[in-house]
Amino acid sequence: MLTFAYFPGCKIAYHLPAYDVATRAVLAAFDIALWDTPMNCCGYPVRHRSFEAAVFSAAWVMALAGRRGLPLLTPCMCCYGQLKLADHWLGKHPPLAESVNRLLAAEDLRWEAGIGVRHLLAVLHDDIGPAAIRSRVRRPLKSLKVAAHYGCHGLRPARVVQFDNPLAPRRFEALIAATGAEPVAWSERVSCCGNPLWGKNDALAVHMMRRRLASADGAGADRLCTGCTYCHLQFAPIRRMALPAVPRPAAVLFPHLLGESLGLDSQVLGIGLPERAPASDGRKS
């Protein structure tokens, strides 16, 4: 049985519990096992503050999984990007790895190259595959037009994160097509949702979100689908607060789309659990 060390990331527990529930449900449906252990922050949020702190925190996570000999799986694009980035830097810079491992030794941990960091979408696409998913779909989401929003940190820098072609990715659309839904072509599918600036420069963050929504709506999308905790927080709870007058297209997390097509119960998918917006920057706009 395929087993991963599960890394939900910090934001899920309080802000987006449904993503955790749905991720577990769809992975269980495809017999993928998750090993749970308390894990710390991947370091992504603190990268603005300190590269060293961000890399050390990521190394800690990878060392926890490494001690168990399992690759990591995360449903968050930003966590994924940060873990891949730290793995890349640690692998390329022996003095950095030595320094990090000296600190980790106090916890009886050690970062080693090559434990493997995977994103949920990549596991669904590569380890299960669109064909296998299609064969399991019981309620094809026919006539539903879905815009795939990739999420920056999973896609770029491509040399480091190695998720898909950064200019013309296809994996997300292939997964959406497997559910029976119709992936729409739209121009801003690899653009930023704006969330990294939420709480720092809200006006700019919301402006970017408004553009993406308009673009997806213009392409005729019924749903804006993401595979990232932060993107969904941006397009769902933050948008409800900042852009209440922009209802289309509704945001959906990919495991919810997939779970629905597999015929999973909405309770099993955690649909209806609270979605909470992180704190705003407190400035009056």
Binding site: C41, C152, P157, P196, H207
Partner: protein, 512 residues
């Protein structure tokens, strides 16, 4: 509510769930020390009215006092041992944690020593004879002395001649008549009695100096000291933690009145026992390890928050520390889930960001947004400040400090600017950009790093990596912007004090 009082209050199941050893430790202290407080310290007020025949020297009271004292001492040893030996606890332990433990140790130690000093004391024996024997016949006193020397362990300056025929037996009869109705055998004080055997060789000096009276005073003073300090330190948790648990249960019932919320938060801040469990599960503990600011850890942030609110008018530095700590916290909820005192820490973190911002200290990126680049250049600390000690072998800014990264390879082709969503948003009037990514690269090429640092672009970069992905020269534009933001953040954090000198006084700044 009653079930909660029993489960959370008396059995402390919340502690059991998160920290088994902590639970054993706390139960020993709680169930050892609290009954001693009620039945021993308040014997005149509580025990005597309840039990007619109560006497502190009578069993089961004498035995129970020793048993409870021993239980509390085990708890105390576990608490101290944990704070000394477990790295996670040691890092967090401060004077506020050690003082109550030291006082409890003093109370327990002086209590046991007091009891053993009384056991061996000739003056105390003489007083009891005067009070209870009802006779000063020298022969009877000699008989009783012999009996108490042999069976109860009193040490006389001139030892009683217990070998004299019939004397011990006569003493036994007298003891039966005059003493046993309110004095059980001292051996049932199973901690104090063995201790008194250790003191016996020094009995002469101890009795002459009335060690029992000194120890009595010490025991009382230590108790009063603990009582006097209780409202100010963590010992207040005897009251505030149950209150916190109670109010937390009420929260789900009551209206969210602002005043009720404020009260609940105030109680929550005071309900912390500084047990440190939250900081051990803290998601950003590794980040704290590198950045060093202790207040990043929830237990320390809560203490800082309490100090800040009590002070009324918070200082700039304290607010900056809180803003820094809040910026690192990911609101992952873990501390709230494990807190044995039931403190809704998440609620406090969510609220305190607003308090700090309201008091003029929002998080660094927001602070940066309110001023022009020139003003920031003046408000920043000098280069190299505000940074963790770090490791000299590791470059702090790995891209900018990499000698192989040649920024003059940048051909100013404007590709990065062309793909930047922030530049796009600026063109649509959503933000006030001063320079674009390619211009930042140019400033760096011209060695005007300070100016690049203060630019709006550094703070408005959304980190989407489009620039880096598209750069035909392979320059890590987004990584460089990250590094500039790291440096600016550190220096703005260090320069939390108001800017010195008039704005625009810097030569480079005036050049723009």
């Amino acid at each position: 509510m009653l079930a909660a009082a029993v489960l959370d209050g008396l059995l402390q199941l919340r502690v059991w769930r998160t920290d088994r050893l902590g639970w054993v430790m706390h139960m020993c202290l709680f169930w050892g020390f609290l009954p001693l407080l009620v039945f021993h310290a308040l014997e005149d007020e509580i025990t005597r009215p309840l039990f007619r025949d109560y006497a502190s020297t009578l069993n089961p009271y004498q035995f129970l006092r020793n048993a409870l004292g021993l239980l509390a001492a085990i708890g105390l040893a576990l608490a101290a041992g944990r704070r000394l030996l477990a790295a996670g606890h040691r890092r967090l332990s401060g004077p506020g944690d050690w003082l109550p433990l030291a006082l409890i140790a003093l109370i327990l130690g002086s209590g046991f020593l007091l009891e053993s000093a009384k056991i061996i004391s000739e003056p105390v024996f003489d007083e009891m004879v005067a009070d209870y024997l009802g006779s000063d016949d020298p022969e009877e006193v000699a008989a009783l002395r012999a009996w108490w020397q042999e069976t109860y362990g009193v040490v006389f300056e001139t030892p009683a001649d217990s070998a004299a025929p019939g004397l011990l037996e006569a003493g036994g009869v007298l003891d039966e008549q005059s003493c046993t109705y309110c004095h059980s055998p001292t051996t049932s004080a199973f901690v104090a009695y063995p201790l008194s055997r250790g003191l016996a060789p020094f009995a002469g000096t101890l009795n002459r100096w009335r060690a029992d009276a000194w120890l009595n005073d010490l025991h009382y003073m230590a108790c009063f000291l603990l009582l006097a300090l209780a409202p100010f330190g963590k010992m207040a948790h005897l009251v505030t933690t149950p209150l916190t648990l109670f109010l937390r249960r009420c929260r789900d019932l009551a209206d969210p009145e602002p005043a009720a919320t404020a009260n609940r938060r105030a109680a929550a801040i005071e309900g912390c026992t500084h047990c440190g469990v939250c900081s051990q599960v803290c998601s950003v503990a590794p980040i704290q390890r590198v950045l060093g600011t202790p207040e990043i850890l929830p237990s320390e942030k809560l203490a800082a928050l309490g100090a800040l609110l009590r002070r009324g008018k918070p200082g700039t530095e304290a607010l900056a520390t809180l803003a820094e700590a809040n910026a690192v916290c990911t609101r992952c909820l873990r501390c709230t889930q494990v807190c044995p005192s039931g403190i809704d820490l998440q609620d406090l973190w969510l609220a305190s960001g607003g308090w700090a911002a309201g008091a003029g200290m929002p998080e660094v990126p927001v602070r940066a947004a309110g001023r022009s680049a020139v003003q920031w250049a003046d408000g920043m600390g000098p280069a190299g400040t505000g940074l963790p000690a770090g490791d000299a072998a590791v470059p702090r800014y790995p891209v900018l400090e990499n000698p192989r990264v040649q920024l003059f390879h940048c051909v100013q082709c404007t590709t990065c600017t062309g793909v930047c969503p922030v530049v796009e948003a600026h063109a649509e009037g959503a933000t006030d950009l001063d320079v674009t990514p390619q211009q930042v690269m140019n400033l760096l090429r011209l060695n005007l790093r300070e100016l690049a640092l203060g630019s709006r672009m550094v703070w408005d970069c959304v980190t989407c990596y489009q620039c880096q992905e598209h750069c035909p020269q392979g320059i890590a534009v987004a990584d460089i912007l990250y590094e500039l933001r790291n440096e600016a953040w550190a220096r703005i954090g260090a320069g939390a004090a108001p800017a010195q000198g008039p704005a625009g006084s810097r030569p480079e700044a005036s050049a723009c």
